[in-house]
Symmetry: C2
Subunit: 212 residues, 2 copies
């Protein structure tokens, strides 16, 4: 285990903190995994440069924006492909995974309960499968990974986002995509990731508790 | 002017196509600037790998995801800072500019007219100024640029997003931020960008015409 002074602050859930935790796990970097609740968040929020988490403190810097943090850690630790063309393909895949996540969580955190139910149905039946078809095809074309026939941070984001959305929606979103399921298992079994998943703390039943 | 075989397809408006056009302009790369309307979009959409624009065809590849495209072009053309730490600071700034844009356009494209008016008021009076304060401070700390005391693609995204949001909202969002206004003028006056802005086609009065 490499020792770095890295401290990650995020809510006690998966969300946008999880891909960062998984990148640390996959690259064997020790970090302080601070998981906060609603009350701590309300105290912390007004003191921050940007009003959201995750926040990473590392090398004397305080860094916000989850995806930018992931990309930086991936670049520094060999998870960003081996050319600018591969880095582009990873970025495109990551932004598409982010689109899938955002189009789902916008309904999950919708306060009106009828609009919420209808929105989540649409996400489960239409939006998510339309994205999963894209990733399924990429898997076929990239020798069992999402990009460039090798393990990159796009695979970590896939694992974390499909896990997180399945958790929010109380169903496995990959149920009709057997190849994606096998691929998620393969990524979950990688050294570092496997040990992290075995020991990670439980998540709240309802992630809205942090915000409402 | 360097000649490349680059073809950019986007709607006949600023939006997410504009930062790509501006990066081409700033780096003196000629490109085919295809601007389509609603009817052409409806025909094109079902044929695409991802159901959105912009789409860049270059070097035999068809590339989606505007911000990924910008980053790739910036990396290839010296607009991405000179270290991974600077590239990180650019990414964080870009994602924050994207947050500001998204939190505004979500109201702009809201179909319910009362919710739309209230949402846009909130964007103008609260959301946008809270982000502009962050960028104003960055400008002070980075010698008149957003990152690293030099011109990067974060400055191009600032120009394109503040221009675009001002256009949508029918007011200059920088009106109470004199330093940001001067800085936007400075970026607008850079070689390549200045000529592009002088000759760019007019935009529609209402950008919703492409989607509704």
């Amino acid at each position: 285990m490499r020792i770095m002074v890295a401290k990650l602050t995020y809510f006690a859930m998966m969300g946008l903190g999880e891909p960062i935790r998984l990148i640390f796990a996959a690259t064997n970097i020790e970090f302080e995994d601070i998981r906060i609740g609603k009350e701590e968040w309300q105290k912390l929020k007004p003191t921050l440069k940007l009003p959201h988490l995750p926040m990473l403190e590392m090398d004397g810097k305080t860094i916000f924006q989850a995806i930018a943090i992931c990309r930086y850690l991936a670049r520094k630790n060999g998870l960003c492909g081996s050319s600018e063309d591969e880095a582009l393909d990873i970025d495109v895949t990551v932004d598409t995974l982010e689109d899938m996540r955002k189009k789902t969580v916008v309904h999950y955190y919708q306060p009106d309960s009828e609009a919420r139910t209808n929105g989540l149905k649409e996400a489960i039946n239409v939006t998510i499968p339309s994205y999963l078809k894209i990733f399924d095809k990429q898997l076929e074309e990239n020798k069992g990974y999402l990009v460039a026939g090798k393990f990159t941070w796009a695979d970590i984001l896939f694992l974390s986002h499909t896990d997180y959305l399945s958790y929010l929606l109380l169903l496995d979103i990959l149920v009709n995509f057997p190849n994606l399921k096998k691929y998620r298992e393969k990524i979950s079994d990688l050294p570092g990731i496997k040990e992290y998943l075995q020991k990670r703390p439980p998540h709240p039943g309802d992630c809205r508790v942090f915000f409402f």
